[in-house]
């Protein structure tokens, strides 16, 4: 009979060493461990001064969408499949309007205040529905921003359809960009740490088997509400810095883009572990800018690329890359 071969995956030696032994000695081990973490951070911090004004804007957008994607990924890993990142984003924007325009707070107060208020308001708004699961929670979060947008249009509060110009801007552009980058990196590593802690374990367990967590006498709704608070604060923060950057608030902040693009980024980069979401948004946002030259065909091509990449790598680019990084293939005989 013909000998048949199959692919077999094995951990690389350096991976096995660095996983378990913590007194790492060799330079190679340390490089292996640190390079995927340090190199991107260095890249992010060094690159901005070399960018032109246009690429700066693109980079800022990528960070904002990255923050939203992180917030989506965080909620998804707590079992809350949210399609309404634009809800958090838009509420964050309008809170900046309240704090900056009506109360006249300085910028270093209005950003943290509005992200915290967004977290509180969204947790209060969504706490009745955190008991919903799966697609039902997704639908309600998809509909809420649309509803708010129509309400603003119909009632005309906060500038109505015209929006409100004249929000205080950042002292200079590069400062705003660095704020975006630093907060993006901060939340990336903060969320990774959080999900590794005991608190994150509870959240992950809620996703896997909520009834099991309930039977351990843990109030899962309270935990889910807290998760919404964290996710919404991050989304609200993204909205707040965007508002200060563009010095304008409009209904467009509830637009579907802010819900769909983070979702697409996460699907492209790989769900879970946050690095995939970050990577995905760093790919998708520049891609959509490149496609802008094509005019009307842009969205269609963009969606096609998205579908193609999801079909090619359903697990996401990041998980694929990390497997290549830590494992190798051998051919093994099929018994």
């Amino acid at each position: 009979m013909e000998k048949r071969l199959r692919k077999k995956r094995l951990d690389r030696g350096v991976k096995a060493r660095t996983d378990t032994i913590f007194m790492v000695a060799s330079f190679k081990d340390i490089t292996y461990l640190l390079s995927p973490r340090v190199l991107p951070v260095l890249f992010f911090l060094v690159i901005p001064p070399f960018l032109g004004p246009y690429s700066e804007k693109v980079f800022f957008h990528a960070c904002v969408y990255g923050l939203l994607a992180l917030s989506f990924d965080f909620l998804a890993s707590c079992g809350l499949f949210s399609l309404g990142q634009s809800l958090f984003f838009g509420i964050g924007c309008y809170f900046v309007g309240i704090y900056d325009h009506f109360l006249g707070l300085p910028i270093y107060l209005s950003i943290p205040f509005s992200s915290l208020s967004t977290g509180l308001l969204c947790a209060a708004l969504l706490s009745p529905v955190v008991r919903l699961r799966g697609v039902y929670f997704a639908m309600i979060t998809l509909m809420l921003p649309m509803l708010l947008m129509r309400l603003i249009e119909a009632t005309g509060v906060m500038g109505g359809t015209h929006g409100m110009p004249g929000i205080t801007g950042f002292p200079n552009e590069i400062l705003g960009l660095y704020l975006g980058i630093v907060s993006f990196l901060f939340f990336l590593f903060f969320l990774r740490k959080l999900m590794g802690s005991d608190y994150g374990l509870v959240l992950k367990a809620i996703k896997e088997d909520d009834r099991c967590v309930m039977s351990s006498a843990i109030n899962i709704y309270w935990y889910k509400a807290q998760a919404v608070f964290i996710g919404a604060s991050i989304g609200g923060f993204a909205g707040a810095i965007t508002t200060h950057h563009f010095q304008f608030i409009g209904m467009s902040s509830f637009a579907l883009d802010y819900s769909i693009l983070p979702l697409a980024a996460t699907a492209l980069g790989g769900q879970g572990g946050f690095a995939g979401a970050a990577l995905g948004s760093m790919i998708l946002v520049p891609l959509s800018e490149v496609l802008r030259e094509l005019g009307g065909l842009r969205m269609a091509l963009y969606c096609l690329i998205l579908v193609a990449s999801i079909l090619a790598l359903p697990e996401g680019i990041f998980h694929f890359l990390s497997r290549q990084y830590s494992q190798f293939y051998t051919e093994a005989e099929v018994d």
Binding site: A76, F81, P128, V129, R131, L132, R133, G134, V135, Y136, A138, M139, I140, M143, L144, M146, L147, R150, L151, E153, A154, D210, R211, M214, I220, I260, L263, A264, T266, A267, Q271, G295, G296, L297, R298, M299, A300, L301, C303, L304, L306, V307, I310, L311, P314
Partner: protein, 288 residues
């Protein structure tokens, strides 16, 4: 009286939008966000059949229904088959496909006054003192026929039995020899065909535009959620509630409040009774 009759027509239209969507979701658990795109695409198929190929009326209608069903079928096997079981990927795939179709049609210039379908029946009748064109009666009739036909199909044929089996438990269905991928793809085909039938009935009332696709998706979601995601009578009730709710709101507050009705109804229903008015089988699953 005219409010009553036109409300009924609107409601049936909304129910027509939703039937195909809810069938696919109820059977295979795929939230088909490309539904609106498929709907409007079938309208363009008819237009092409009539104006480019110069086919007779009925032939181009049935050709469009067949093509749309085939489109849904191949969508399942080309795209969804590979990402089955990853809800995030399923959702992004269908949504992105829908947007791709709609945006391509916008780019290709498929909008404007010349893109309108001739009505199936011309003329108008007077019912209870209200003038009604016959096409609106066609909508009414096709809505009734579709809902009743679907009910009979699902409850009295072998394929319908497989549909219900898959809806109840995919694993059990597999273990008694129901190929879940085949049934899933059949449900996609049937759902798309139903949306094509809806397009045949509804689209001649106005001009065709790709943006209608997004609208249809929102209404389909609203009706499906309010009525209960997989129940056929729920579609009718959901359509009636939203249709009349919209008309009354438009009369009382003005037309710009109209779109708020379906949105707030979705939020209310999901908050209070997420399985919808008629859904009951998934009562335990959707909330803990």
């Amino acid at each position: 009286m005219s409010l009553l009759i036109y409300g009924l027509i609107t409601s049936v239209t909304l129910a027509l939008y939703a039937v195909g969507f809810s069938l696919v979701y109820g059977v295979s658990g795929i939230a088909n966000f490309a539904h609106g795109a498929i709907y409007i695409l079938s309208g363009y198929f008819i237009w092409m059949g009539l104006n480019l190929l110069h086919l007779p009326y009925w032939l181009s209608f049935s050709l469009s229904i067949f093509l749309t069903a085939f489109l849904g079928f191949s969508l399942y096997w080309i795209l969804l088959y590979r990402v089955r079981g990853i809800p995030l990927a399923e959702l992004v795939t269908t949504f992105a496909t829908g947007v791709a179709i709609l945006e391509f049609m916008t780019w290709a210039g498929f909008s404007g006054i010349r893109f309108s379908l001739p009505p199936i029946l011309n003329g108008s009748v007077e019912i209870f003192g209200v003038f009604l064109d016959l096409q609106r009666l066609v909508v009414l009739a096709s809505g009734v026929v579709l809902v009743v036909g679907l009910y009979l199909f699902v409850h009295h044929t072998k394929v319908g039995l497989a549909f219900r089996a898959l809806a109840q438990s995919e694993r059990t269905a597999l273990s008694i020899g129901i190929e879940s991928d085949w049934v899933g793809s059949l449900s996609m085909a049937l759902g798309s065909a139903i949306s094509a039938v809806a397009a045949v009935a509804v689209l001649p009332l106005g001009i065709m535009e790709p943006t209608i696709g997004y609208e249809v998706l929102i209404y389909a979601l609203a009706v499906a959620i309010v009525g209960g995601l997989e129940s056929t009578p729920g579609m009718v009730i959901g359509g009636l509630l939203i249709g009349y709710g919209q008309l009354i709101t438009a009369k009382l507050f003005g037309p710009k409040w109209m779109i708020i009705v379906p949105l707030s109804m979705i939020v209310l229903v999901l908050g209070i009774k997420p399985s919808g008015i008629f859904g009951k089988s998934k009562e335990l699953e959707e909330r803990v």
